[in-house]
Symmetry: C2
Subunit: 124 residues, 2 copies
Amino acid sequence: MAKSLGRQALAEFFNCSSQILDDRESLEHIMIKSAEAAGAFPVKSLFHKFSPHGVTGVVIISESHLSIHTWPEYSYAAVDIFTCGNTIDNIRAMEYIKDKLSSGYYSIMEISRGILNIEENKLR
Amino acid sequence: MAKSLGRQALAEFFNCSSQILDDRESLEHIMIKSAEAAGAFPVKSLFHKFSPHGVTGVVIISESHLSIHTWPEYSYAAVDIFTCGNTIDNIRAMEYIKDKLSSGYYSIMEISRGILNIEENKLR
């Protein structure tokens, strides 16, 4: 990855358990535990269940945040993990979430946020 | 944009006012107002100031969420707006935020989340 202030992993989880995707409490527990599994320190969390379907939730960690949006009717969830520093293992958190959502297939991409200095990156 | 469950705009705001980037209350106000400017309905918000610098904040809207992470020491902020449906004008929200952060230069990209059906997209 480039030298940057932040890193962001974006995951698409398909064919998940629709029951879990509509369960606000379970999702909050899963997301907090995934942050801990990645070596992050959860600070606060905020989860909201929409009517009739779907949950949006955010866990603020001392290294930035995790978010999840679920569409139980499509068995789909979008998960982002935004971190700063190099100590957090985003992929480990995603693996934990994938297992808990029983996702049948998925994709993850990771991007750099806040690339301030091209020169510094060239010299790596 | 592709037919998808969600759309996500990711903005890099450089050369911002460092004072505003470290002001939790102002940032919460700016982010809520930006959501309203875009036609979204804020539901809940959660903002946290880190020591010594920086703020992380999230506004949950009835159409998903907005997030901001600031590095006042680098005059940089990362802002994401995740929406579903076609009624929210992400770029209008970003314009509002850019002005309030006094960002000197910036970039915005927009991505599709949850593309379920390639056939449907081919037929557009």
